[in-house]
């Protein structure tokens, strides 16, 4: 009797199922994406690490300006300032003249705060040169001192030649200046910041979200609905990709319009950068999955995530070129995925190369992706 009831029920259900619309995994996945995106946008740490920090660094470095040489030169209080040599120094853009009491300037010179003190003295002995030019430098600022000495020497030569032009000069300088693309610090720092943003969104975001969803039984509640597990992961990943696309776009667009970041081929370069950002994020999310899988408790997550992100943040060419590190560190630098993402990002943005020309960087990222996801699929835990 019970069995016939069950059979009855089954045929009823099959009828109903063929009438009703099929369950759509994509619709469920998009619901996860929407929920996750809302949650990320309201999470202070995600916003701070993905937009606020990179933007602050960009603003800071954007205002520091280009790589121009600049020297501070003290003018001795007793210096003659009416002569031609002084005028020549005054108009040089790289020279910033300082006028303070002698003792204070000497102190600054010894501490390297100014590069040199100059004193131009009118020579009372009329048989000798008209002016005596004193340049006082210090070990505290060797480079700056050398620059000032050179500039002063140049000014003196020029003044001498003006007074006594040689009948037949030995040589004449014919400088030629090529108007190259100006590689400013923003061109270096912005791709690095983009990498940093992707790294934090990928590793921290993914690790915390999956750990928390698992430990607070949010995932378990999802399992009681008809969504299939891979679609939960896909939905989460899609929300992170969307979030990263938004933050990357803000960083690039603001960098371009406010700080003159070079987008060599305009919109094409912008889109290529976003595509590259997507590849980077994909790899970094794999690290996040691993961390969420191996962390025995929540307080271990930031530790593991920092072990992955901090060395890359410092050494992968985020703030300064990776080749400044000593040779014994180079193997580490050369193995980090962010190094290759940053390198490829800079080449695409500034040199305008295509994806084919950064194939080596992409290959390394691809290898990392393979390794990371191989491990992630083994250590990832649903419950």
């Amino acid at each position: 009797m019970a069995i016939s009831n069950i059979k009855d029920q089954r045929s009823k259900i099959q009828n109903r199922r063929s009438e009703g619309r099929e369950y759509n995994q994509l619709r469920a996945m998009l619901a996860v994406t929407r929920a996750s995106l809302r949650s990320i946008m309201r999470s202070p740490s995600a916003v701070v690490f993905s937009i606020a920090f990179p933007l602050i660094f960009i603003v800071v470095f954007g205002f520091i300006g280009g790589n121009n040489i600049s020297v501070r030169v003290g003018v001795h209080p007793q210096s003659d300032t009416t002569n031609e040599i002084f005028t020549m120094m005054k108009v040089r853009p790289e020279v910033k003249l300082i006028r303070e009491p002698e003792a204070a300037m000497k102190e600054e010179l010894l501490r390297g705060k100014i590069s040199a003190i100059i004193r131009i003295e009118k020579n009372l002995d009329t048989s000798k040169p008209e002016y005596l030019v004193h340049v006082q430098t210090s070990n505290a600022s060797r480079e700056g001192g050398a620059v000032v000495s050179m500039l002063m020497g140049h000014a003196v030569d020029k003044a001498n030649l003006a007074k006594n032009p040689p009948p037949k000069p030995e040589a004449e300088l014919r400088p030629e200046h090529l108007e190259g693309r100006a590689f400013t610090s923003i061109d270096f720092i912005l791709p690095g910041m983009l990498g940093f943003s992707l790294l934090s969104t990928g590793v921290f975001g993914t690790a915390f979200v999956f750990y928390n969803l698992r430990s607070t039984l949010v995932l378990k509640r999802f399992f009681a609905t008809p969504i299939r597990r891979p679609f939960i992961v896909l939905g989460e990943a899609l929300s992170r990709v969307t979030f990263a696309t938004i933050t990357s776009s803000i960083i690039i667009i603001l960098g371009h319009f406010a700080f003159g970041f070079t987008l060599i081929n305009g919109v094409t370069t912008f889109l290529l950068m976003l595509l590259l950002a997507f590849i980077g994020l994909f790899v970094f999310m794999g690290f996040g999955f691993i961390v969420s899988g191996v962390a025995p408790n929540e307080s271990v997550i930031p530790v593991l995530a920092n072990i992955i992100t901090l060395p890359q943040f410092l050494m992968a060419g985020t703030f300064f070129p990776a080749d400044v590190f000593p040779s014994w560190l180079q193997p580490v630098v050369k193995v980090m995925p962010l190094t290759y993402l940053n390198e490829a990002m800079r080449k695409i943005a500034f040199e305008g190369v295509s994806f084919f020309e950064v194939w080596q960087d992409l290959l390394v990222l691809g290898l990392w992706g393979a390794v990371v996801y191989f491990i992630a699929t083994r250590v990832f835990r649903w419950e």
Binding site: A2, I6, I13, Y23, N24, A224, T225, P226
Partner: protein
């Protein structure tokens, strides 16, 4: 006795083994369509394990389970569509309001719902824009139950729905659960409160260390015990302390 009623859940010889430990040791029972069925027992008796196996959240070690004609072995996704599940101590997606959480669940179940109406069913319409975290214990449980109703399920599973709630919130939740049953939905719940089972359940199964040791209507089980010569040591008064408490503090919803 209740053979005239139709079974919507049939469990036979269910076993669950965790390594050397047997959590469920071959239990069989049926839940009839449209009833409130209680699985009683002390902590660790195997109630939650049994419930979660029926809910398709855990694998069983042996036995057969058929839910509304669907077998848990090969119709898991079809089963998920016709059941509503409230987990013991489940959390919800962080940083979202109740309305947004219902959006999420309507997507997960592929149904279109009127979110606000859903919340009004459990008396949470005023909390629509609050976060789950900010709700009181009773409100959290009501919201959990709300999420189980989204797909208009045939069966709702509630795992210790009133544990940790104050008497008003419990009474209120019982009303809600009776309302769900009235709407034609079968309810299966676990509890370790006997008063709850007596008030709410038409039939109960008592579990102890992985076995079902009794199964019948609460009335029948009590009569059986009395027939065996059992007598309470203390004369039963016409009211108990809970009645006093509720009389003093009011029967209204006191969540806020």
């Amino acid at each position: 006795m209740s053979t005239h009623r139709k079974a919507i859940i049939s469990v036979s010889n269910l076993r669950k083994q965790y390594g050397d430990f047997s959590a469920v040791k071959g239990i069989s029972f049926e839940v009839y369509e449209g009833e409130i069925f209680g699985l009683l027992g002390p902590n660790g008796a195997g109630k939650t394990t049994t419930l979660e196996i029926i809910e398709t959240l855990r694998e069983k070690s042996a036995g057969e389970i058929v839910i509304d004609g669907l077998n848990v072995d090969h119709d898991q996704n079809a089963i998920k569509k016709i059941i509503g599940v409230q987990l013991q101590a489940a959390g919800y997606y962080p940083n979202l309001t109740l309305l947004e959480l219902l959006d999420l669940f309507s997507g997960l179940y592929n149904v279109s719902i009127d979110n606000k109406h859903m919340l009004s069913l459990v008396g949470l319409e005023d909390k629509a824009r609050e976060k789950y975290k900010s709700l009181s214990g009773g409100q959290k449980q009501r919201f959990s139950i709300c999420t189980t109703l989204i797909n208009k399920p045939k069966i709702v599973f509630l795992d210790e729905p009133t544990t940790g709630l104050d008497p008003q919130a419990r009474q209120n939740l019982w009303q809600l659960i009776r309302g769900i049953r009235k709407g034609g939905t079968t309810v299966m719940l676990t509890t370790h409160y006997m008063d709850e089972a007596e008030q709410l359940c038409e039939r109960v199964a008592v579990m102890d260390s992985g076995h079902i040791i009794a199964m019948n209507t609460p009335d029948h089980l009590i009569d059986e015990l009395v027939a065996s010569g059992f007598e309470r040591k203390k004369e039963v008064k016409k009211a108990n302390l809970e009645d006093v408490f509720l009389h003093l503090t009011g029967r209204e919803w006191k969540d806020e």
